[in-house]
């Protein structure tokens, strides 16, 4: 298959259990290049777990996860078994996958710009001056010019999340994963973060976004995926899923959140 036809993300029959609890029960998901996919679903349906399997923050029990045509964190072994790759192989793959967490997880002992410079400097060996210039550029892009030297504790939640987005972008990822990036924010701060994500989507970034923001999904997503009970119940265009859901579980979920 030519490169541009290989999907950016491919999850095939992914299963994952935490002890006795089956959290993912055979998930199939494909995300094309430049596509924005929003994952919605009730609490405990496995959305976070699926997202974390995509950059191997979580191991999988069976199935395959490929990013850009490559298995993430595993190699194909004999008899169709997966062999864990070494940490160094995994971390090279992770450089290309940006992750934004619900609770930001900015490095509290580093200023905003140092947070953004950390990845390029430490992982890619970018010289300080270059990393700083790029850092300022990215902070400007997320609307935080002038706050370079603020520590995370001196920033609002919305500002912190925007720094976290800039930090992920500094690695020039080909894929961005967002796990409920606005659900830890005060309502009046949600808009500024969604705005940055909307711009990013328009710039052509491939994005997988777990979210409860239905308006954002309707407006920005190319596709909406509804998960429940560890499987994808229904997926399709935002208008199909959000306005005219076929599955009763989707309907009951949407009636509860609307």
């Amino acid at each position: 298959m030519p490169d541009h036809l290989v999907p950016m993300v491919e999850a095939r029959s992914v299963r994952k259990a935490f002890g006795p609890v089956d959290v993912l029960r055979g998930v199939n998901l494909s995300v094309g290049r430049g596509e924005v996919v929003c994952i919605i679903g009730p609490s405990g349906s496995g959305k976070t777990t699926l997202l974390r399997c995509l950059n191997r923050l979580e191991s999988i029990d069976s199935g395959r996860v490929l990013v850009d045509g490559q298995l993430v964190g595993y190699r194909e072994g004999s008899k169709g078994r997966l062999v864990e790759s070494t940490y160094d192989e995994l971390r090279r793959q992770r450089q290309a996958i940006g992750m934004v967490f619900q609770r930001f997880h900015l490095f509290p002992h580093r200023t905003a710009i140092e947070n953004v410079m950390e990845g390029p400097k430490v992982v890619l060996g970018t010289p300080d001056k270059e990393a700083r210039a790029r850092g300022s550029e990215l902070l400007a892009k997320v609307g935080l010019s002038g706050r370079e030297n603020a520590y995370p504790s001196q920033l609002s939640g919305g500002q912190q999340q925007r720094v976290a987005i800039a930090r992920a972008l500094a690695m020039d990822p080909k894929l961005m994963l967002f796990d409920e990036p606005t659900s830890a924010l005060d309502p009046e701060l949600v808009g500024e973060v969604l705005g940055v994500m909307r711009d990013l989507a328009l710039s052509g970034m491939t994005m997988v976004v777990v979210t409860h923001e239905m308006d954002f999904a309707r407006e920005v997503a190319d596709r909406v995926v509804f998960m429940d009970g560890g499987v994808i119940v229904e997926e399709g265009s935002p208008s199909d899923i959000l306005n005219d859901p076929q599955h009763p579980r989707t309907r009951s979920f949407l009636s509860r959140v609307a």
Partner: protein, 318 residues
């Protein structure tokens, strides 16, 4: 409370709101507290008087010996022993702590055995063991085990001087205590920090040294400062193995001049000075590592807290 009120006033712009009154200055007199304070002052004053005019404390002897060359040399040995044992003990502690938290069960049990042994026996006993290592292994050898060729072989008594025995004993013992402190520090760092660093593609070593340890420092530094201060005093134990430290030196002097109490006062003055300076240093290091988090204790409070051990004074920044 007061500032919140005034801020609300400004926001809602309600001029008819009454001004916030200062606290009533006429609080009832705390008779008990005043009596307590007075009696404490009396007792302290009487004690100080009894010491200062005590005919058995010869202040002229103290003044004469405070800067005696031998005393200064002993002081220097104490400082050397303290700094070197901490400089060796802290990295041992970090290493053992990382081993304790490793996924490898062999490393974990080795680290566990280390802390179990060295925390479970008195440091005084350990010092005597190191000093008498020659009785256990007359020659120290490095080579192929079980009778293979030797690369290196020396007389134990030639290597294990009192200073080396003291340093080994103190540093290795310190490593066991530091391991607990470092472990608590590492565990205090939110797991999300590791995940954020790993998802940038950072190597395990960089995650530890650039993200986890600097944050753990905030938790590690205060007890480490206390360890340093207590090490300044613990070095005096090497006097049992003729260690040439401050205490050993003054005791040699008083065996000659019989000025036991005066010479102990000389040593105590130096110990107090060292611990006070160390407390000031601790304050500045803590301030450095609390960047971006909170303001540390005031300096005067820190020094008082360290020297008096009054936990109530440190409680406010918990």
């Amino acid at each position: 409370m007061t500032s919140a009120h005034t801020a609300e006033q400004r926001d809602s712009a309600l001029p008819e709101e009454p001004p916030v009154l200062p606290l009533d200055p006429h609080r009832p007199l705390a008779v008990g507290r005043i009596l307590g304070t007075l009696s404490a002052i009396l007792v302290a004053g009487w004690l100080a008087y009894a010491v200062i005019v005590n005919p058995n404390i010869h202040w002229d002897v103290i003044v004469d010996h405070q800067f005696d060359d031998r005393v200064l040399h002993g002081l220097w040995v104490t400082i050397e022993l303290t700094v070197l044992s901490m400089a060796i003990g802290v990295p041992i502690g970090v290493g053992v702590a990382v081993m304790q938290m490793s996924a490898n069960p062999l490393l974990r049990s080795l680290a566990g055995a280390y802390t179990w042994f060295f925390r479970g026996t008195p440091v005084l006993v350990q010092l005597l063991f190191w000093f008498n290592l020659g009785l256990l292994f007359p020659r120290l050898e490095l080579g192929v085990p079980f009778g293979g060729p030797k690369l290196f072989s020396v007389e134990a008594s030639a290597v294990i001087t009192p200073f080396v025995a003291g340093l080994l004993g103190l540093a290795i013992n310190e490593g066991a205590y530091m391991a607990q402190i470092v472990r608590a520090g590492i565990m205090s760092v939110d797991h999300g920090q590791r995940e954020a660093a790993e998802s940038l593609g950072m190597s395990r070593r960089k995650v530890l040294t650039r993200i986890i340890l600097p944050q753990a420092m905030r938790i590690i530094i205060p007890p480490t400062g206390n360890q340093f201060i207590s090490m300044l005093k613990t070095t005096s134990l090497v006097s049992v193995i003729a260690g040439a430290d401050l205490l050993t030196t003054v005791s040699r002097i008083y065996l000659g001049n019989f000025e036991v109490i005066s010479m102990l006062v000389v040593a105590s003055i130096w110990y107090l000075l060292l611990t006070t300076i160390a407390s000031v240093g601790q304050h500045y290091i803590e301030r450095h590592y609390s960047r971006g988090v909170h303001s540390p204790q005031r300096l005067s409070r820190r020094v008082r807290h360290n020297l008096t051990g009054n936990p109530a004074m440190g409680a406010h920044d918990a």
